[in-house]
Every structure is written in C-alpha cells, then in structure tokens.
C-alpha cells in the first residue's frame, strides 16, 4: 500500500459505481492462461530498510569525494555549486511534465529558453535546441540532420578518428539502417588534410571534435580553414566541443561550424556513473526546420504578455510521425536546467575562471609528468583539460598501483581505442584537482615505473 491513498471504503464505493464486486472482473479480458503470473521478485522493503541497503551499495563504490581522480574521456569531474541541486530539488521543476500546456509550464519553458540563449552565447551559434540525450546521440542526430539538409542526395559522413570512440560507435549504430557511408576514422593518423581530401560530391558532412578526444586543440585558424574547405566541397561542418573549454576558447560558431554538439555534463551535472547527461545541440538558423529535438520559443498571450511555448513542433514525431526529423520525444530537461543554473551562478567570470584553473593545473601536471623517466607527454598541439601520456608499462598496471598505494584513480587506458599509441594514458586534470593531488600523482607515476615495483605488480595480477 506504498503510495496508494485509497481506503477499503473508497474501493468499495468505487466498485459499486463501476458495477463490480471484485477487482478481478476488470481483468476478465486478459486470457486466463496468462493471468496473474507469480513474479519472483525480492520481498518488499520499507523505506527504512531500503535506505540501509542503498547506503551499503553506495559505499561499495569508490567515489570521487574520497578518491582523487584523473579520469575524463567524455565524463568530467567539474565543480558543481550547491545552488544547482537546490534548483533541481524544487518539486515544481522535477515533478512537472513536458510543457505541452504552456500556460501552467512557464517555469520549465522559460528556464529552457534561457538555457537555449546561454548555450547560444557559449557556442556562438544562432539556434540551440532544448537538448538531446547526450554528446554521443547529439553527434548522431547532427549527421542525420546534415543528410536531411542535403535532401538525401549525399550519403557519406566523414568522421575524424579523434572524435570520441563512443560517439563514432553510436553514430554507426544509429545509421545502420540508413544506407550511409561512414568513413574517415580507419586510421588514427587521418588528420584534417586527409579528411578534406576524402571530401567529395557525396559528402553530406564532416564531423570533428575540438578539443578532441585526446585533448588536442586546433587553432581557430585551422578550424576556419577546415570549415572553408568543407564548405567549398558542398558539405557541412559539424563540431563536437567541450562546454567548459568554451569559457576560455574561441567557440565553433565563430569559425563557421554549421552544427555544434557537445556533452554538457560538465555544466552543473554530476558524473552519476555515466548518466543522465546532456546533449548540447546548436545550429545555423537557416537549418532550423530540419533540426530535431524540442525548441522553446518566445511569444505573447491573449493579454499581450510575454510567454514561452514549445514551437516548430511539426518537425517532431507526435505530428510528423514517420516523416519526423527524428523519433526523439523527450529531452534532458532537468539536466539542461542544471546547466542553466550552473551558468547563471558561475556567470561570465566564473566559467572563465573554471576554464583557466583547468588550463593551468593540466599544463602543470603535463610538465611535471613529462620530466619523469619513462613517461612522455604526447603534446604536438596545444591541449585543453586532457593530454596523452606515453607510459613505460601497461596502463592497467600503473593504474592498479595508483589506486592501491595512493588511492588515486588514474587516467583512461587508450590501448583499446588507439592501439597505435602503445601504452598510452589519457589524463584529465580539472579545477577540482588540488595541487597536492597532482604532485601525488606525479610521485606515484614515478614509483610505478621503478624496477622493484614492477616485480610486485606482476606477481599480483
């Protein structure tokens, strides 16, 4: 009887109104052979008991409040001010439905409109939607949108090998029934020149990431040159970026990207073991009607007062059905609200400062590590937040040492995704990493390379 308010009296009265004597009568049309299965579920628990269980389960996880972490690779430990959760905890926000009745959803709608506006400012783009599921599906939706814009006459999508491996995988999953060619990432060496050479009359779009999965930054000039070359060949440029980086660095809108996507988790959303996250999705106004995802627009009511509504809904599934620009129904409303509250609280100066702290700490870490014997930072281009370290031994072994001896969660092992890099680790340093943690990391890495340690680790694995 957990959350069911009906008393026995209520039930009797209601059954009398319906004209039944037993609730079973309401299920008479369910075939008898399938009716009332026994569900083998654990015995029910009270709130007190479940809280105890969850406390224990949560305690089984090494969490980043207790362990220093240098893991990134698409999910980031950035600072979340307390006010964000205060906003998200308002029952009026989190227990509200999709704002299909705008007159009683102005809170949700205005917050979403403000999110759209702030992200437009951040990315330098003209239109932003109310969000996709995450950075990976945003890339997939961008590719589909590009094919739509090109009126289905161009069937090739060129992707950079330094676009997040999971994003490339999701793109391929999404498009497996669409008869598209996805090329460009056959080898990790394909740089912009190669991608441009691949670009031809059948190319709908070129998708790159900046800063890329390995943390590498292309200069605005390089990006502008790429955009110009791609446009000259009749294709669109899609750029997947990082929203914290945009607190400091030139946004893709200013180097003529057509569609900009990003993982927005770093803006006010916790790591939460991989989700729910936030698919930032921005594009040029002229492509607006081919876009997917919800859009909030400004309008007026019958008294001439400003208000907000969902708009351009004819693109969407509930109206356009099989001809919709996508099947997407929901957005990540609460995560977008978190991002908006974060941007509002941090503001122009705060976001820039977060990006600067991230810059200084990550560069400091890189310099220290590069000086270690056996380690080499692969830094041909400038980087933001993440950098690749070539290691003297398998990353899995080093990370085990870091964890067991120092309680440090090390960087991402790149050997599966980029085997040509050898024993390489993708290290992420944000404003959340204190200097002591970084210094400990450097010490730990150094120790992990020592000969006597080598023997111990090999024995335990």
């Amino acid at each position: 009887m957990r959350y069911i308010p009906l008393t026995d009296e209520d039930r009797q009265a209601m059954m009398a109104t319906i004209g039944i004597e037993d609730i079973d009568e309401l299920f008479a049309d369910v075939p008898a052979e399938f009716r009332y299965p026994d569900l083998a579920l654990p015995a029910p628990m009270t709130e007190m008991e479940i809280m105890r269980e969850l406390d224990m389960r949560a305690a089984e996880n090494a969490n980043l409040r207790e362990f220093a972490s240098f893991l990134g690779a698409g999910a980031y430990n950035h600072f979340v001010p307390a006010i964000v959760d205060t906003v998200l905890s308002r029952g009026e926000f989190y227990t509200a439905y999709t704002p299909y009745q705008p007159e009683i959803s102005q809170g949700t709608l205005q917050a979403a409109f403000e999110y759209q506006s702030m992200v437009a400012a951040l990315t330098g783009m003209e239109v932003v939607n109310a969000s996709h599921y995450d950075g990976s599906t945003a890339v997939a939706e961008a590719a589909i949108m590009a094919v739509n814009i090109q009126r289905h006459k161009r069937r090739t999508i060129i992707i950079s090998p330094t676009l997040h491996p999971q994003y490339r995988a999701v793109l391929r999953t999404y498009t497996q029934g669409m008869a598209l060619n996805i090329i460009g990432d056959e080898t990790a060496d394909n740089d912009f020149h190669t991608l441009i050479e691949m670009c031809d009359k059948d190319t709908a779009a070129v998708i790159v990431q900046n800063p890329d999965f390995l943390g590498q930054l292309h200069t605005p000039q390089e990006m502008q040159d790429l955009a110009d070359a791609v446009h000259a060949r009749g294709a669109l440029l899609v750029v997947s970026t990082d929203p914290i980086a945009l607190g400091l660095l030139k946004p893709p809108g200013e180097y003529d990207a057509d569609i900009v996507t990003a993982e927005g988790q770093g803006l006010g959303n916790s790591l939460s073991f991989g989700g729910p996250y936030l698919g930032i999705f921005a594009f040029r106004k002229k492509y607006m009607r081919k876009s997917s995802g919800r859009l909030v627009g400004e309008t007026i009511d019958a008294d001439g007062k400003r208000g907000y509504v969902l708009t351009l809904s004819t693109r969407e599934q509930h109206i356009r059905r099989e001809k919709a620009t996508s099947n997407i129904c929901s957005n990540q409303a609460l995560n977008a609200l978190a991002a908006a509250a974060y941007l509002a609280a941090m503001g122009k100066q705060g976001l820039r400062k977060v990006a600067e702290l991230t810059w200084h700490k990550s560069h400091y870490a890189a310099r220290q590590i590069d000086q270690l014997e056996g380690y080499e930072v692969m830094e041909e281009l400038p980087f933001f937040k993440e950098f690749v370290v070539r290691c003297p031994r398998p990353v899995a072994e080093i990370n085990r040492y870091l964890l067991e001896e120092y309680g440090i969660i090390g960087g991402y092992d790149l050997s599966q995704d980029y085997p040509s890099l050898g024993n390489a680790m993708l290290l992420c340093v944000t404003e959340m990493n204190a200097r002591e943690e970084i210094d400990d990391l450097v010490t730990a890495l150094d120790e992990a390379n020592a000969p006597h340690i080598r023997l111990n680790l090999e024995a335990s694995l």
């Binding site: 069911i4 369910v30 917050a111 099989e322």
Partner: protein, 488 residues
Amino acid sequence: MKFDDYIYDLSSPGRTGIDLPDPDVPETPIPAELLRDELPLPELSLVQVARHYLRLSQKNYAVDKGFYPLGSCTMKYNPKVNEWAARLPGFTAVHPLQDPETVQGAMGLMYELQEMIGEIAGFDAVSLQPAAGAHGEFTGVLIMRAAQLARGETQRHKILVPDSAHGTNPASTSMAGFTAVQIPSDKDGNVNIQALKAALDDEVIGIMVTNPNTLGLFESQIAEVCDLVHEAGGLVYGDGANLNAIMGIARPGDLGIDVMHFNLHKTFSTPHGGGGPGSGPVGVTAELASFLPGPIVALNEEEGLYEWRHPEKSIGRIKSFYGNFGVMVKAYVYIKMHGAQGLREVSEIAVLNANYIQARILQMGDYPVPYGHRRCKHETVAQGKIPNADGVRTLDIAKRLIDYDFHPPTIYFPLIVHEALMIEPTETEDKETIDAFLDALDKIAEEARKDPDLLHGAPYNAPTRRLDEVRAARQPVLIRLPDAKVAT
C-alpha cells in the same frame, strides 16, 4: 527590450555568483590566438539566481502540486526516497570508466534491475542503455532488423503499426530505414485481425503493438496477433508505455512479445523533470539477447564479480556509457520497495481508478466514451464533444480545466478518436481528488452549454492567458541575447 524577470535582464556587469580559488600551481600562458573575445553570459549574484529559479518554479504545475491525468504518461507520485538514493555520493560521484572492481555497488544495482525488469515483464535479457522510451523503441526496431538479417531475411522492410500508435512508433521505423504500414483498429479498439492477416507477407519485419493500447484497452487477441506475426516470419515489438496497467496481471513476454521497451519515468515512478531525463530499457527473448546494445552488466559467478559484457551480435552502442544510471537508481528503489505484491496492487488500483472515472463520465452523460462498452485498463478515452455545445472543442475544455486547478488530460491523441481526451489517473490519486476532477468536468460541460465564449478565452487563473502558438511558429524567437543579438 527588457523584461523584468528575464535572466539576462537581471544581469549587471561585474557581479559574480561563485568565487573560485586562485591557481595553486604555476600558471601557463594561454596563446592569445586561442582565446575568445567575449563571453556573453549573465552576471548575477547568488541571491538573484536563487530567487529567479524559485520564482520560475512557482509558475509551474507539477505532480507535487496536483492531479495530472495525462493519458499514456503515468504521472504518478515521485517518491522522495528515490531522490535521496540517487543523490548518494557513492552514486553521483562515480565515473563510468572506473575499474569495475571499484564500482561493484553500482554495477550490482544495474544487474539486479536488469533481472527484475525481465522478471516483471517476462523477458530473458535486458539492456538498460537507452535513455528514453523513444530511444528504447529505436533500439527495439534495430534489434528486429538485425535478427531478421541474421536469419537471412534480407527482403523484409515493412513494419506494421496500428493506427492508434504513438508517433514515436512510425518515427522509429523510419529512422531504421523501414516503411511503416498502418493497420486499422476494429470497433472494439483492438488490432483488426483481418487487416493484419492481409498485411502479413514475407516483407514484414514485424509489428509494433502497445498493450494495453492507446485507447486504454487490453488487446484480448494479443496471443493470436503474436502467433500470426510469428507464423509469417515476423517479430513482435511491444511499446511498454502502458505497463502500469498489467504488472502482476500479465507478462508481455508470456503473451508472445519478442522485444519491448520500458519507461522508467512512467511505470516505475522516476520523475518527468519537465521533459526528461527518462530511461527506456529494452527487454528481449533469449533468441534476441545477443543483439542487445551494450555493454550490459553480467555476473561472473566464479569470481563473484559484476563485469561488462558486449552481447555477441550486438546492434552496437546506442548511447555513451551505460544509460541513465541516476534514473535507474530511482526505479530500483521503487521496485525493491514494492515487491511482487506491491506492483500488482499498483496495477489493480490504477485500473480501478480509471474504470471509476469511465463509469462516472458515462453516468454524467456530458462526454462520449467511444469504447465505454468495454472495461478500460489504466486509462480511458472520452471525447470533448459535449451535447448541445457545438462551439466548444477539446482544446477549450482542456484550457478551462486549468482554471479548476487541474492539469488537462492528454488531448487529440490517439488520432483515431476525434477530439480525444485521454485520462489516466494512476494509482496514487485519492478518491477526493478524482471526484473533484469529475465535478470540474461536469461544471465545464454546463459552462460549455451556457457560455461557450468563456471556454474560448480560458485559462483565466494561470500565470499566463492562452499563448499565441501561431505567432511562435511563424516568427520563431528561439534565443534572446543582450545587445540585440536576437536570433529568430
């Protein structure tokens, strides 16, 4: 143009919200060519931020505020213990790429949730990766595609979709590269078996069914539908949006469904959040298990450890990482607290409440109930066609309900019912609220007959009057930035 509560108009140059520490490391110069010139974000104090969002929230209706009888949305109470659980640092401050040995608690929760959903709905394997219902649907269609191709059935390209289906069904079909073929419903609201037989051939991948369907009715011939489709070499996809009607009553997997998505944010009480995040896990039969998107959590019984496993013939990754874990926690708590008996009671009372509403509306006589000759399940569909009130449409009735402090039901869906009003009370509503809602419907019918213009101008008591959606679509204003950097 300045608005008194628009976020950018609250801004003042130099104001800061959050202070951050100075760098505790030596600084590294940032090449000037990389830098942006301006960053046009607002500059607010924290007091302003707190007030701004609190005031915005107060303009919202919400389940925590009142009744939300939205058909097919299952707007039940969102338990607060779920929120507490999802916020534990042991869940929020955990990185998805951590070594599995350091996240056994999270993986164990996911594993158990996979198992419990499979048990509730009758499926052998479950993936929690899809982020929403529509995402789960798309996943399901891709699984059907992969399974047919693996069988060598390369000529199949059509998917049968009932005319009562949610728009995401045909949209997902198109995204997978297939053609949606519509199957009509019969006079009892079931899939028309004759039409189904006529449509089945060796080009059909399968059928997408919702059971109970969007008319709120149980497809009593569901077993026959599944048999017919299977005999023709097709697969059956189940849209699980309406699962709240049949937990512990019947298991879709037992009825013959091969692949199904679930909406944790409907049936399993996780909050809607103003539009998301949701979570749309997919369950499949043993035959289709190897096609699931991955990775999923598996239990290595020898070592007693949870590990990540990619199904051998997986359609691939459908999202980064593992799915909306923060939402999964909430559904997990809900299911563990209810157990089998609790979930059955949820469905029984959800159906009781809906039938009570249907019976009362029929008695009132103001609103036709086209399938009122049948017992509905968790929702009932009425029509906003009040006798002797020709000038009033469902839209007006919906807007007037707002003045009575109720969120309107779902309107104009399903498409096969003219002027539809789809009402789903859920099991967490008390009788007083339901009676008050019915009372309001009755009063509105009276108003419709006596003073239709009153309804045309509704709502009057909401934060705004009726909003001009035509204007919003003709001249879209989608962002508003200072210095007239307004996009349209």
